[in-house]
Every structure is written in structure tokens, then in C-alpha cells.
Amino acid sequence: MGLFILKRLGLMLLTMLCLTFIVFWLTNLDAKLETLAKTQGSARMTDTEVQQWIANNGYDGSMIGRYGQWLGIVPGWTKEVRGEERGRCLEQGMTFADAPTYCGILQGDFGYSTVLRDDVSTIIKTRLTLTGKLMFWVMIVMVPMALIVGVLAGMREGSRTDRSLSVFSIVTTATPEYVSGVLFIFAVSAFGIKWLKGSAASAMDGLTFANFTLPVLTMALYGMGYIARMTRASMTEVMTAQYIRTARLKGVSFGNIVMKHALRNALIAPFTVIMLQFPWLLTGVVIVETLFNYKGFGWTLVQGASNNDIELLLSCSIVAVLVVLVTQLISDIGYVFLNPRIRVS
């Protein structure tokens, strides 16, 4: 087991390196850097001024080298511009002498956001907390609801409960967040519902039922249908299994068949699905935060991406990829524990 986790961690590290490099490469294309120069400097800069700006801010030099600097395995760039000592690792007013040689993520330095004008690590911390709250509530609503709907539907295949719950799940999977969000806000304003708000901006200061219900519901609904359908499929399969028939013919009551015999077997597949749902929830987060004006991680990502804020984007992608990989790992390990048939020797 230890070896297995070690192997997975190695693989995760490799994946992270590959992905961050791709992000790095895409954000450091010449054209992107020129756009960055124009948004940071001024839109009217001439081509030479743009090149000048790029050079002065350390965006020249080889891509690999700069990626190494960002990682913290290559010394940060230093440069003298108009008598002022500048460098990757230099804070305002520092000189070469008192700045560290390396300052990358390995040193815990995630860089500086050019658009939000703050340390990336601070931004990520605050924004991620906000999104964490959102995710927490989404999970609290989504997972139990999905499992209950799935189990109820799959318990008796073909029954009326099954049919109506299945249609409900299909409808929710067919309604992406930007559709359901729009419809919810529309409904709230059309029916004059006062106890729900179409914006979650105030939720950043304090969560209330009114300002958080719609964003949570919007996200939870879209994800729910999928998990519910998986659970249903898994449940129906288990309910037709021979061992359920054995249990039935042993005289076990229907309730006990479902609770004691079917449930554990039926939840193995959905567990993996729920875990793999996380990465995909990110898209939802971005949409919902945009739609409901909630300035969390998704909003930050949009800000970073639309302004080509390189270091912010890189950190965002690290977080996103980390979430994906960790959940995958958990899902694999959890699968092993849920399913006694697979045990590590």
C-alpha cells in the first residue's frame, strides 16, 4: 500500500509538472506577453516600447529558464534598469545583495498578481476559503440528495417512483449552471420572492439562507443528476444480482435487503463518481461565481485569465490540478476499502 501511494504521488508530481508547464507555455507566448505589456503599461505603446517593457520585467530569456525560475530551481532574473536594481526576487527598494537567489514555488513564493496587485498566495488563500464555503454547502446538498434519489429509483426498477425520479435526474443533467442560474434568478424576480436573492455578493461577508441558496442550488442540481443516475444504474444492477435473490429467498425483508445487502455494493461505483466530480465542479464554480457575483476562486481565475496574469493563473492551475489529483487518489483508495474483492497484498 505504501509503495502504491508513493507511486501515485510520483505520478501526480509528473502530471503537475506537465500541466503547469503547459499553462506556463500558453501564458508566455509572445503574443500573450505583448497583450500583457499593453494592459500593464499602456495600450498605446509602440512595438519597441512593448519589447522594452517585456525585457525590463524579466519576460525575455528562454521559456524553460523562466519556468525554472518560477519553480525555484533556477536563480531569479536580475537586471539593472535606469540605475534601479530589479529582479524576480527583489521586493520594492531591495538591492541585489539582500535578495535571495531563488524565489519560486519551492521556496514558497507564488509570485505577484499583476492584475489584483497583491501576493498570489494571499489572493489564493482568501478566494479559496470563499469557494470552499460554497463547495462545502454544495456537497452537503448534492451528495445526500443524489444518493437518496438514486437508491430510491434503483430499488425497484421500472416502478413509477423509478420513472419519475429518473426523468428528474435527466432533466437536471440537461440543465447546465448558466441555464438553471438564469432560470432561478428569473423565477425569483418574476414571482417577487423576497426571501431569496439573485446575487451572492453579500455572502462574501456573511452567509445567509437568502444570499446563498440560489448559487448552491444551481451548482448542486447539475451535479446531482449525474451522480443520481450512476447510483441508480449501480443499484439496479445490484438488485438483480444473484446474491440479492439469495437474500430474498433466505427470507430477508425488503428493507433489510436494501440496507444490509444492496447498499454497500451499490455505493462503490457512485463513490468513485462523486470523487471524480470535483474537478468538473470547477467549471460550475466559475460559472456560478460569475453569475451570482461571488468573488471566490472561480472569479479569480476569470480575472487572471482575461488579463493574462501569469503567476496568478499558474497558482490557480496548481490548485485546480491538485484538487483533481488528490480526489482521484482518494477515489482509488476509497474504492479499495469499499470493495473487499480488491485488497492490496
Partner: protein, 388 residues
């Protein structure tokens, strides 16, 4: 003129959709009559869920085809500034200049007809979603088959790449990839150059593995594929069609590519899993023992028997692709600001929902019904294909 009442609006829209109704009635009448002879498609008509799904999907397919007959105004050019944000059913001030006197679903922020934009939007979606899904399937299949069949190192590498793409947050990829800078840099061309090769490779291998025992026939078929495919390929990927007939815009190309790119790893995984299952069958062993080549076995012995689950996933995936395209539009990525595609119209209307909901709601419902139709269709197909 008086604005139309709700009932009048509904009736007028019903009339406008008349060509679609006619087409739907004909299709359903013919299909139900001959349902026993139509195989799996015919069986769909035994399942209420499948029928509803097919109805919704066909509704939008026919709408896309017949959009010119249905739309009452031009979705982009007919701008009437006094009609900005006007409620559904409002009459236009100068009906003589146009063929129709009402904005059935009101006007948008710039004063364009929401109804016509919604109708035309179906074209934008159906132009890309099915084709992009098809390409994703070609790529997924052509990589998934050998990964599952040969296993070993090839599988390890391909699976790693697939997982790499899958762990990449879709939304981030879109934000990074679908930008004017990337389009100008020419990267989409190179990626298209690679991705669009897959269908040609697929067809060539498919035909060669089957007909290599009859060289003349093989040469003819493969030749046709290479010439026709090459022509389309040059036009689509490199914008270098010698006849100048086929071309694809840079920003459309990048949308197409990103969607294919995001979808193909999942298809890859499905195909790989199915190969692992099917290759243990005796008919595969029979093919091996008579000395068939690996590609024949993969494409003619294994693939056709995986078609059921793949078909179901294909339907679901078109729906998913539609959602992805909507997401792109919603963030204003890769589409021109005027575009009438549903995602961008929702985006344009999202700020106005509390006072002019009619701008965002129609495209939202349109998108939802199309995806719902596809999901129901997939469900019906799955149910019916299991009944054999």
C-alpha cells in the same frame, strides 16, 4: 399597433414553426409505420422516453435546417434601436421595412429580434456540436483501440496523456486556448492539422485492413478516401483548399479543436475499456488464429461490437458538447460578440434578467431542451438496445 397577448405570441410562434411540425409529423409517421424494419432506430418508437428525446432532438435539427423559413428577422443585421429590451409581442414601429410586424419574444439590448436569434442560434450549435463529437470519437477510437489491444507501454503512455488532459480543468483550458492571441499565433492550425488527420487515418486503416486481400478494390477505396479526405482536410485544417470551397474561420477552428480535445480522452477511456472486455471473446481468438492483422481485429471484430455503448455515449456527448459550447459563449470566448449562439445570448442577457428576462430565458430553454432531448434519446437507446 397593439402588442400581442401571450396566447397570440404562442400561436404566432406555433405558426412560424410550421415547417418543423410538418417535417416532424412526416418523420414520425414514416418511422412508426416501418418501425419493425428499422432495427434499433425503429425500436426507439417502443420507448416513450426515446420518442420524446427523438422529438426534441429532431425539433432542433429541423429548426436548424429550416431556420431561414422560421426566423422572422435577420438575427444580426435587423437592428431596430427603438425595440431595445422591448417585451415579447411588441409591434415594430416600421413594419413595412420588414416582412414581419412583431418581435415575438421581444428585443435584445441592441434592438434585435430575440425569437429569430434563438432560431438561428440552433444552427450555430448544430453546426459544431455533432461534428466536434464525431471527431472526438475518431480520435478516441483510433487511440483507444491499440491502447486496449496491445496494452503494455503504449497503453501506459496514452493513458497518461489522456489522464493529463482529463485532469486539466476544462474552463482553464478554454480561457487559455480560446483567445485571439492563440488564434493569431497559428497554434489552432497545427492542432487542427493533427486532429483532422485522425478521420482520414481511421478510414484508410479501416478499409485497408478489410480489403487488402483484394488489392484493386482496396486501392480504389483508399484512393477515394485520400483524395476526398485530403481535400476537406486541406480546407478545414490549413485553409488551403485548392478549389476554395471549404474553409473554417480561425476562431471557429479553435473552439472546435478545444471541444474535440476535451472530449477525446473520455472516449479514449471508454473505447479502451470496451476493448479489454471484448478482446477476450472467442471470435477475436478465431480471427487471431486465422492470422488476421491487429487492425482488422480492432476495427472489424471489436469495434462493431462496441457500437451500442458507443452510440449511447455519442448522444450524451453531443449534449455535453452543446453545454460546453454554451459555456464558451457564456464567457464570450471564441465567438464574435454578435453571434446568435445560445451561450452568448444568455451571456448578453444575464445582466438584465431581473427587468428583461425575455433576452436570456428563450436561449436558455432552447439549450436545455436540446440537451434534454439528447439525454432522453441516449436513455431510450440504452434501454432498447439492452432488450435484445
Amino acid at each position: 399597433m397593439e402588442p400581442l397577448s401571450t396566447a397570440q405570441i404562442i400561436w404566432s410562434m406555433f405558426i412560424q414553426f410550421m415547417p418543423v411540425w410538418v417535417a416532424l409529423i412526416i418523420t414520425f409517421a414514416v418511422s412508426i409505420t416501418f418501425k419493425r424494419k428499422l432495427g434499433l432506430y425503429g425500436k426507439l418508437f417502443d420507448s416513450p422516453v426515446g420518442m420524446v428525446g427523438l422529438f426534441l432532438v429532431l425539433f432542433w435539427v429541423f429548426t436548424a435546417f429550416l431556420a431561414d423559413m422560421i426566423a422572422t428577422f435577420h438575427p444580426i443585421e435587423d437592428v431596430i434601436s427603438s425595440m431595445r429590451r422591448k417585451a415579447p409581442g411588441t409591434a415594430i414601429p416600421n413594419p413595412d421595412d420588414f416582412g414581419y410586424s412583431y418581435f415575438l419574444l421581444g428585443g435584445d439590448i441592441l434592438g434585435r429580434d430575440v425569437f429569430s436569434r434563438m432560431v438561428m442560434g440552433s444552427r450555430e450549435v448544430l453546426k459544431i456540436a455533432p461534428a466536434a463529437t464525431l471527431f472526438a470519437f475518431m480520435a478516441g477510437i483510433i487511440l483507444g483501440l491499440p491502447a486496449g489491444y496491445f496494452a503494455g507501454k503504449l497503453d501506459t503512455i496514452l493513458s497518461f496523456i489522456a489522464n493529463l488532459v482529463l485532469s486539466f480543468p476544462v474552463i482553464l483550458l478554454f480561457f487559455l486556448l480560446v483567445t485571439p492571441e492563440i488564434v493569431n499565433s497559428g497554434i489552432p492550425r497545427y492542432m487542427a492539422g493533427l486532429l483532422f488527420l485522425f478521420p482520414i487515418i481511421f478510414l484508410v486503416i479501416l478499409l485497408n485492413s478489410r480489403y487488402y486481400t483484394q488489392p484493386p478494390l482496396r486501392n480504389m477505396l483508399v484512393g477515394t478516401v485520400v483524395v476526398l479526405g485530403g481535400w476537406v482536410y486541406l480546407g478545414l485544417a490549413w485553409d488551403a483548399d485548392p478549389l476554395g470551397m471549404i474553409t473554417m474561420q480561425g476562431n471557429q477552428l479553435i473552439v472546435f479543436i478545444s471541444v474535440v480535445f476535451v472530449n477525446s480522452p473520455t472516449v479514449f477511456r471508454i473505447v479502451r475499456g470496451m476493448v479489454l472486455d471484448i478482446q477476450t471473446r472467442d471470435y477475436v481468438a478465431a480471427a487471431q488464429t486465422r492470422g488476421e492483422g491487429p487492425w482488422y481485429i480492432m476495427l472489424w471484430e471489436i469495434l462493431p461490437n462496441a457500437r451500442g455503448p458507443l452510440l449511447v455515449d455519442f448522444c450524451l456527448r453531443i449534449g455535453y458538447t452543446t453545454i460546453l459550447l454554451g459555456t464558451l459563449g457564456f464567457f464570450g470566448l471564441g465567438v464574435s460578440p454578435e453571434s446568435s449562439d445560445w451561450g452568448s445570448t444568455i451571456n448578453a442577457g444575464k445582466g438584465q434578467i431581473s427587468f428583461a428576462a425575455h433576452i436570456a430565458v428563450p436561449p436558455a430553454i432552447a439549450l436545455m431542451t436540446l440537451v434534454l432531448g439528447l439525454n432522453l434519446l441516449a436513455d431510450g437507446l440504452r434501454e432498447e438496445s439492452l432488450k435484445d
